[in-house]
């Protein structure tokens, strides 16, 4: 029955764990990243290996620059990020393509088809083509580790950075991996000055461009013969060209078809495409998102089907692939209609009180990336825009300039601590420099929360868990030229609202730092906290507390008979209840109750 027996060296790893393992086995010495779903666990796992250095950079551009520096220094280096992180890091990446490497340099891009936790669904295979950098694309955890090791070898052999592209279903899917022994580059660390290679003045860069074009030709030859690009001959009536996780869906849906599996998404093997197409009577290209393989197959004059059958939006699964290619509708039960369960700010989240106050002020809120984006959902519904990391401050400033006097005191930017340090600082600098007057609210919860609690420059701890100097956020804002910087406790609803009203009205730039730890942080959870309850006799069912949207506050609906039985007027529609299992004791809801019905449980 089984193909695998219990033995040493076999592990069930996620794609991200496998990449971390592959980097360790490849002898990577320096790794730098900014956390972002679905890439975050790569560095969190890598840092656990002996003898490695890994760090959270303030953003992806810095992470890549650090990795480039380490490569120049002669060690193998890795930078990891989510797909949109590559947009931030694109500047150094495009020129690192010209300089090439010394120690192997690998950049992981973790794409997110279906937008499980992202603001767009971009296909980063385009970056490989645009930056002229080879891109490996594993189709499961096993390949994720093997391709990571190979990526470093290719990087040194061809003197190029190498992209490793995953998608959510690679990064966050677990599969069997065979562990290997650690190795490393065949040379010792050390920097050898070589201005023609490392100093990209136009005169040098012009010559390096020629090298890049030659390199791509050599890599195309590699692509023709490497067994990661391979034909699996089967039934010749259907030939499917595929890569990444789509390969698994194809094998599931069409176990007998002929398959050309592409492991190197760039550059592509032209002779292999032609050989495959000549051997089958119908070619279909199955890939998620954009028609990357399809475009290049068709450019060779090969008649093929692709996006006319396979969806361009969202992720695939075996059923979608089967239905698209056979054209047969596969009947399945319709999902049962039930109330939706979207993600929500946690009980005790310090952001909740702030957004509740913002909603009352009726201001326009330009938002940012992070847990706080969840405040856009009902019942808070207190955010008007979310574009990308750091965008809130520039957006608020732009809107203020657009609206002129009509916009004064009406636009507020809201951004988290980690996001501010990632790319909000320059936005705030711009507000001051260009005589803006908008208010920036800096949500300082002492962690990078949305991605699962990562340290950042303002938390005082490194990825290795060592203590370090903190970026002083109020001092940073003042240094940028903001005169009015105030820190409030967002759980103190009254004070927070007072400061908000005052600062929003102020015609000069101001920053309000709402400082309270993320409710999920272990130090916070270990604290002895109060638990609140609704005194049933006092609750009139006015729903003032429900509007906070706290998961711990539940609504108990009444029929008129139940209302009377509970000693209420027959017209009372229900009452509030606080779940003692969920209440975090944040004290945001008690002041909202005009009837003093919310009290601390004394026990």
């Amino acid at each position: 029955m089984s193909v695998l027996v219990k033995k040493e060296g076999i592990r069930l790893l996620s794609g991200n764990e496998a990449i971390a393992r592959g980097a360790f086995e490849a002898g990577v010495k320096v790794a730098s990243a900014y956390p972002g779903t679905p890439s975050t666990e790569i560095l969190e796992n890598f840092v656990r290996y002996e003898g490695v250095y890994a760090e959270w950079a303030p953003n992806e551009k810095v992470a890549v620059e650090v990795a480039i520096g380490a490569s120049m220094g002669g060690v193998r280096a890795l930078a990891a990020m989510k797909h949109v992180g590559v947009n931030v890091a694109a500047d150094p990446i495009f020129t690192a393509s010209y300089t090439g490497v010394r120690g192997g340099l690998v950049i992981v891009t973790a794409d997110d088809p279906e937008l499980h936790s992202s603001q767009n669904e971009q296909d980063n295979r385009h970056y490989a083509v645009a930056a002229k950098i080879p891109m490996l694309e594993p189709s499961d955890s096993f390949e994720a580790k093997e391709f990571t090791r190979l990526a470093f070898e290719l990087s040194e052999k061809y003197d190029t950075p190498v992209f490793l592209r995953t998608t959510t279903r690679i990064s966050h899917a677990k599969g069997v991996v065979r562990l290997g022994e650690p190795s490393g580059p065949a040379f010792p660390p050390g920097f050898t000055p070589d201005p023609a290679k490392w100093v990209m003045l136009p005169v040098n860069a012009k010559r390096r461009h020629v090298v890049v074009e030659e390199r791509t030709k050599a890599l195309r030859e590699f692509a023709e013969t490497w067994d990661g690009n391979r034909i699996e001959w089967g039934d010749r009536s259907l030939g499917i060209v595929t890569s990444g996780v789509s390969y698994q869906y194809v094998k599931e849906a069409f176990p007998d078809a002929s398959v050309l599996k592409i492991g190197l998404a760039w550059p592509l093997p032209e002779r292999l495409f032609r050989e495959f197409a000549a051997g089958v009577s119908r070619v279909v290209v199955v890939e998620e998102l954009d028609p990357h393989l399809e475009t290049h197959v068709k450019a060779l004059g090969i008649p093929a089907q692709g996006k006319e059958l396979i969806p361009i939006v969202g992720e695939l699964d075996p059923r979608i692939v089967r239905q698209a290619i056979t054209g047969e509708a596969i009947p399945v039960r319709a999902p049962e209609p039930v109330p939706p369960r979207p993600p929500n700010l946690c009980p005790g989240c310090p952001h909740r009180g702030l957004f509740f106050a913002l909603k009352k002020l009726k201001v326009t809120v330009t938002g940012d990336i992070g847990c706080s984006t969840l405040a856009a959902l009902p019942p808070l519904g207190a955010m008007d825009s979310c574009i990308c990391m750091g965008a809130s401050i520039g957006n608020a400033h732009g809107m203020e300039k657009a609206l002129g006097k009509d916009g004064a005191g009406k636009v507020v930017a809201v951004i988290g601590d980690s996001t501010f340090l990632h790319s909000g600082v320059t936005g705030l600098m711009n507000v001051v420099y260009n005589r803006g007057g908008s208010t920036t609210i800096l949500l300082d919860n002492d962690i990078t929360a949305m991605t699962g609690a990562q340290q950042n420059p303002a938390t005082g701890k490194t990825l290795h868990g060592e203590p370090t100097r903190r970026t002083d956020l109020p001092a940073l804002c003042r240094a940028l030229g903001v005169e009015h910087v105030y820190t409030v406790d967002p759980h103190d609803m009254k004070r927070t609202e007072e400061v908000l009203r005052r600062e929003v009205a102020r015609p000069e730039p101001s920053v309000i730092i709402t400082k309270a730890p993320c409710a999920l942080l272990p130090d916070h959870r270990r604290k002895i906290r109060p638990v609140y309850e609704v005194i049933a006799d006092l609750c009139t069912g006015c729903k003032a507390c429900s509007r906070l949207g706290c998961p711990a506050i539940e609504w108990v609906p009444f029929t008129p008979e139940e209302a009377v039985d509970a000693g209420k007027k027959a017209t009372q529609k229900g009452m509030a209840r606080i779940s003692p299992l969920l209440c975090d004791g944040c004290n945001q809801c008690p002041p909202l109750c005009k009837f003093q019905a919310i009290l601390e449980i004394k026990s």
Partner: protein
């Protein structure tokens, strides 16, 4: 009841420990010589939203995702989440459902009501519905966090693994101080369904 391959769909609410449950199941399959893949989503989905895990085992597994209508077993950590993902179950598939109710935002704020007919609607999907009170079992052990492993115990009746595989997986996966209570939770969960009452096809 040896099944060479199968698809197990886990559904719950962020924070309920579906992740650990699926890890333990995967380890148990791996230790027993199966190929295994599982897929789940982190990040945004963990903030109290619906969470799912696709777990597939067999001699050789390709897709990390289960197709709708193909799951052999659905393990739901919350009653309404069973209904939300019931369309993943194959005809004649089994369901192990925790009777616990966790109110979604629209219900907690009084915009909608928690559906009262969940059990009836689930029974219309399969006659192999097994509703258990995993929360009560966990609370009786004074460790509310073991709800997940209680459910693994109850679901183990429908999987082709010996009890020892789960206990070995728990020992391998957990810190030593948590092993005993979780092994106890697994056994308590297994005892919630008597083998003779389990309907088989």
């Amino acid at each position: 009841m040896t099944v060479p391959k199968g698809d197990v769909f886990l559904a719950g609410v962020g924070g309920q420990g579906t992740l650990l449950a699926s890890e333990v199941l995967c380890d148990a399959f791996l230790l027993s010589g199966f190929d295994v893949k599982k897929s789940e989503v982190h990040g945004m989905a963990q903030r109290g939203g619906s969470v799912t895990t696709h777990l597939r085992f067999g001699p050789k597994v390709f897709s990390p995702l289960i197709e709708p209508g193909k799951a052999d077993l659905l393990i739901a950590f919350e009653k309404m989440e069973a209904l939300r993902f019931a369309h993943y179950l194959r005809t004649g598939g089994a369901m192990v459902v925790n009777a616990q109710e966790i109110l979604p935002p629209s219900v907690a704020t009084g915009q909608e009501r928690y559906p009262r007919d969940v059990a009836e609607r689930l029974r219309a999907v399969t006659d192999r519905l097994h509703m258990v009170d995993a929360l009560a079992a966990a609370l009786s052990m004074r460790e509310v966090r073991t709800v997940n492993i209680v459910l693994v115990g109850a679901a183990s009746h429908f999987l082709p693994l010996p009890e020892a595989a789960y206990e070995e997986a728990l020992s391998a996966r957990l810190q030593e101080k948590f092993v005993a209570v979780n092994v106890q939770a697994f056994r308590a969960g297994r005892a919630l369904l008597q083998p003779l009452t389990v309907k088989r096809h």
